[in-house]
């Protein structure tokens, strides 16, 4: 199982880079905090509407902070052509893609946890903490979808003349299904727990994850193979 070792090497390197340069993760975390504050300026969030607004705001924050953070992790590969280390090696581009998806997933999950905790503290909204165990699955599934698409497109955008800035346009429209399913699932969990409908959204998340992962896996090598 050489490819497991290779995947781990790449993930380890990404985490090392993160510790050294504090890029993707810290950007995601701070941006999510900032977004929540700005959201609050735009829409007055109070005790009465917090439970109806929470799912939407949280997922939009996840998507936005996530996509900007992921842009950063692929930039460090493009700069100075560092990804050529993998390109000219025994490691296949599929393994590289999977490894980058995992690194990005780890960063995303960290950011989401942080966002949820800050949300609870800022809006004094304890129901979110209580719902956390039930939220784990939709969060995980949603983040896998985000990471699958984000990893692919972040490499695409850093390879183009626009740089990272084109990334949100490509990313956000494509992940709208994940976003909506995530919001709906979270809404159900936080506001009323009718199992059947929840399952539908979870299934939808799983289907999109699978779809995005397999398609991206097949497409990724075409991006990197200049």
């Amino acid at each position: 199982m050489k490819f497991v070792g290779n995947t781990l090497s790449i993930v380890k390197k990404d985490i090392l880079l993160e510790f050294r340069a504090k890029e993707a993760l810290s950007i995601m975390v701070f941006l999510s905090l900032l977004l929540i504050v700005v959201f609050n300026l735009a829409v007055d969030i109070d005790k009465d509407n917090v439970s109806s607004l929470a799912p939407g705001i949280l997922w939009v924050v996840f998507a936005f902070s996530g996509v900007l953070g992921m842009g950063k992790t692929s930039l460090s590969e493009r700069e100075d052509g560092a990804y050529l280390n993998v390109f000219f090696s025994a490691v296949s581009m599929e393994v590289f893609y999977i490894a980058k998806v995992i690194s990005n997933l780890i960063f995303l999950l960290f950011m989401e946890l942080f966002t949820i905790v800050s949300f609870v503290v800022l809006f004094n909204y304890d129901a979110l903490i209580k719902g956390l165990p039930a939220l784990t699955l939709p969060l995980l599934l949603g983040s896998i979808g985000f990471s699958a698409v984000g990893t692919l497109f972040s490499f695409l955008s850093t390879g183009s003349r626009f740089g990272e800035i084109i990334l949100p346009f490509l990313f956000l429209p494509v992940v709208v299904p994940v976003l909506i399913a995530g919001v709906s699932a979270t809404d159900l969990i936080l506001n009323n727990t009718t199992g059947g409908a929840l399952l539908k959204w979870l299934k939808m998340l799983a289907v999109f994850d699978l779809l995005y992962l397999t398609v991206s896996l097949m497409l990724f090598k075409h991006i990197v193979e200049e």
């Binding site: 390879g159 346009f169 956000l172 429209p173 494509v174 939808m204 398609v215 991006i223």
Partner: protein, 227 residues
């Protein structure tokens, strides 16, 4: 040349089909009871939507073939189909808006079908942004093919949006008592006309950009041989 004759023939049929369509829509089709004459937009509206799907579908398929064959022919076809698809998608949004204004009393509303269509539109705007953002030819072809393939996954979402989410946008399969049979016939003719029309536009657009591509190649060959 054979394909050129085919185009000619199809163009000729269109000169018959289009007037026929408009005659059917405005003269033959019954006036809808509640909405009145404005409902006649329906025939264009749905035909445009299906034609847009057709454009995106051709883009999707030729993008896949491009990534396998790496022949610029397919990239040319993909971008031509994409242009046509985006054009028709824009027209769907516009005709929808014009219909919504009298019926729902707004230009736009946040209905799943409408939003998903707008999102689809965004995706293909993104497709052309990528084409603009990459100047090197083969890289542009590869990158945009990737966006075209991933983006097409959204078409089923638009189709199913009214099923998945609560929507005020009409659905034919929900119409109580079904559509007036005459309306169905008119719709089918319009649909057929627009599919032919869209195919021809894609084809002509493709021929132009492919000719451009080939002229460039010939130029190169000349420079190669004459130094």
């Amino acid at each position: 040349m054979k394909s050129f004759r085919l185009t000619k023939m199809l163009l000729l049929t269109l000169t018959v089909l289009f007037p026929l369509c408009f005659y059917l829509i405005f003269q033959v089709a019954p006036t809808e009871r509640i909405m009145g004459d404005v409902q006649r937009i329906f025939y264009l509206h749905i035909a445009l939507a299906i034609s847009a799907y057709l454009g995106f579908g051709v883009l999707f398929v030729s993008s896949i073939i491009y990534l396998i064959k790496k022949n610029p022919y397919w990239d040319c076809l993909a971008s031509s189909a994409g242009e046509v698809g985006l054009l028709f998608a824009t027209l769907v949004l516009i005709t929808g808006s014009f219909w919504a204004r009298p019926v729902w009393n707004v230009w736009w509303t946040w209905d799943p079908r409408l939003v998903s269509m707008l999102i689809l539109w965004f995706i293909y705007v993104g497709y052309f942004m990528v084409r603009k953002a990459v100047s090197e030819k083969s890289r542009r072809a590869r990158y945009s093919a990737i966006v075209g393939i991933i983006g097409f996954l959204d078409v089923p979402v638009v189709r199913l949006a009214t099923k998945w989410w609560r929507s005020i946008h009409p659905r034919l399969d929900r119409q109580e008592g079904g559509l007036d049979p005459l309306m169905v016939k008119v719709m089918l003719v319009t649909l057929f006309t627009f599919i032919v029309f869209a195919s021809i536009v894609i084809f002509i657009r493709f021929r132009i950009s492919w000719a451009e591509e080939r002229v460039n190649t010939i130029f190169n060959e000349m420079e190669v041989s004459h130094g």
